[in-house]
């Protein structure tokens, strides 16, 4: 099947703006998760689990366990914020509220709706990362030197995970089925992407497998930024991976959402 050319102009912005407007009404609640989450993790892993672990060696550095996981918490939050926005929240707008049907009676294309939603997912990642960053810096867990680079990373990661979430929104028959991508994709990544333990503690094959996961690269990059780039230029591969990840799934989301909405 030949793919119709993409119809994307700046009219995706009002789709984004609609979500921003809703966020402004509820920000007092919405900002709590990224604010409280790192505090809870630090309490559990720092004082609880961390007291059992002396230190962790990473790229020639010796880190406390909390210092090791702090950048990963950022990465996980970037992943979750956009993924859950473009799955559950977008699905509610699309299926229950019929918001997109209304939008598309104005001069806005289906591709612009998809793009606006993904951009909004990325914005949620950005907001979450910014709030969490402030908390982690306040706790003295990450260096402030390069830390603002977390923000463009949050956008890039947010685009990728927002796109893959949107792709699922174009596919799942009902909202309960988001459980599948969550448990088969998000949860394993959460655990096995060099988030809570260094990858080199895994057997060789598992290390290779972990390198195919987007969160591995996102959390790598986050850790590099927070620790002042101990690994140098090798991280460019991770950047490239995330760019391709976002591009491929953005396209996939455009296709599944067209199939879903154009009848």
């Amino acid at each position: 099947m030949k793919m119709r050319p993409m119809a994307i102009t700046s009219r995706f912005y009002p789709v984004w703006y609609r979500n921003w407007l809703v966020y402004l009404r509820t920000w007092k609640v919405s900002f709590l998760p990224p604010f409280l989450e790192p505090i809870l993790y630090i309490a559990a892993f720092g004082f609880g689990l961390g007291s059992l672990i002396d230190s962790i060696a990473y790229a020639g550095m010796t880190l406390s366990y909390v210092e090791f996981i702090a950048p990963a918490l950022l990465a996980v939050s970037i992943m979750n914020s956009s993924f859950f926005e473009t799955t559950y929240s977008s699905f509610v707008r699309m299926y229950y509220l019929k918001t997109f049907d209304a939008t598309m009676s104005a001069p806005v294309s289906v591709d612009e709706v998809t793009t606006g939603e993904i951009m909004w997912g990325a914005t949620r990642s950005l907001i979450a990362a910014a709030i969490m960053l402030a908390v982690l810096i306040a706790f003295g867990l990450i260096g402030w030197r390069y830390c603002l680079l977390i923000l463009p990373l949050a956008l890039l990661g947010g685009l990728g995970f927002g796109s893959i979430g949107m792709m699922f929104t174009g596919i799942v028959p009902n909202i309960d089925l988001f459980t599948l991508p969550t448990f088969l994709f998000i949860t394993p990544m959460f655990l096995f992407s060099g988030t809570f333990f260094p990858l080199d503690t895994l057997p060789g094959w598992a290390q290779v497998a972990a390198m195919t996961l987007p969160l591995t690269h996102l959390s790598n990059l986050s850790r590099e930024i927070c620790l002042g780039f101990p690994c140098g230029l090798s991280i460019l591969w991770s950047v490239l991976y995330l760019v391709c990840f976002a591009a491929v799934f953005f396209l996939a989301a455009i296709i599944t959402m067209r199939r879903r909405l154009i009848k």
Partner: protein
């Protein structure tokens, strides 16, 4: 000298649909229908549930791609010029798809942005539209606090945000109380006066007869009748209807022996007549003194005759 502005076929067509077809898999929703809507006309699209009305409407504003046929809206091709078309039309959906996460005013603000209206113009337009639809005192309300009628009016306000030349209104008055309905009728009349072309669907035949210049009745994706409401009544039913209930066997025998048009519904019989008094006098005297009424034929009679009386989904 010849004037080029006279009526008739020189009036620009707002819709020119030729052989319009829509299929979903094996299901044919719209079967090769052709119709035109003239500029400034209030055009009715009637039919029972599942007749193909909404499928047709979705093709008109370039939401659903058509399976076959050609469709021009305001002289433009729907497939390629959908964005320019949508910029100049207003759509009121059948579902109450207002945005419950936003206030009344914000609903319109977002729509102004979809249409690319500059902020200052949008503000003025929103004030005007809230007033136009009688919602000015509710601009800050959450949408979920609105009554069904207010939601419907908000959807109409939204549809008129861009000063459309052509408004597509899918059941705008369904679920409205008589007061709201009256307001909507008045507004439609105002827009019509300004030269706005309107395509209307409704299940209220009285409303269609009252508002529409012309209409089509469709069922199973095909056009069954087309014309001005009054002409359709005269053509398909006649001037008057004699209703008798209950039905006596003598009346049945009487009718069987004549070349009269009638419908036997079991416990009720409808006799369609062109000239009224003598026949009514005779029937009521001989067969049903008290249970017989003579009434004016309506569009509802036409609708039920053409689309049948079976219940739809």
């Amino acid at each position: 000298m010849e004037s080029g502005t006279d009526s008739g076929h020189n009036t620009p067509q707002v819709i020119e649909a030729v052989g319009l077809r829509k299929t979903y898999g094996d299901v044919v929703a719209v079967q090769d229908i052709s119709f035109t809507v003239r500029k400034g006309e209030l055009f009715g699209l009637l039919g029972p549930n599942g007749a193909g009305k909404t499928s047709t409407i979705r093709m008109l504003y370039g939401f659903s791609p058509m399976t076959a046929g050609s469709l021009r809206v305001m002289g433009m091709d729907v497939t390629t010029d959908w964005r320019a078309i949508r910029a100049r039309i207003g759509v009121c959906h059948q579902e109450n798809n207002v945005d419950p996460d936003l206030s009344v005013r914000e609903n319109l603000e977002v729509f102004a942005k979809y249409f690319g209206l500059p902020r200052r113009i949008a503000g003025e337009k929103i004030d005007a539209m809230l007033k136009f639809m009688g919602l000015e005192h509710r601009e800050k309300s959450a949408v979920m606090e609105l009554s069904g009628g207010m939601m419907r009016r908000l959807i109409l306000a939204r549809a008129f945000m861009n000063d459309p030349e052509f408004a597509i209104l899918d059941e705008p008055t369904t679920g409205l109380d008589p007061q709201s309905r009256q307001l909507v009728w008045d507004r439609l009349a105002e827009l019509k006066k300004k030269g706005v072309t309107i395509l209307l669907t409704t299940h209220y035949m009285e409303e269609a007869a009252r508002l529409c210049d012309r209409l089509i009745i469709i069922d199973h994706g095909k056009i069954l009748a087309e014309g001005a409401p009054r002409d359709l009544v005269h053509k398909h039913v006649g001037r008057n209807v004699i209703e008798s209930s209950p039905v006596s066997e003598e009346l049945r025998t009487f009718l069987a022996g004549r070349s009269l048009e009638f419908e036997d519904l079991g416990n009720r019989i409808l006799i369609y007549c062109r000239d009224e008094e003598p026949l009514f006098q005779e029937i009521s005297r001989r067969f049903c003194q008290e249970n017989c009424i003579l009434r004016t034929a309506t569009l509802e009679d036409v609708f039920l005759r053409l689309t049948g009386r079976d219940l739809r989904e």
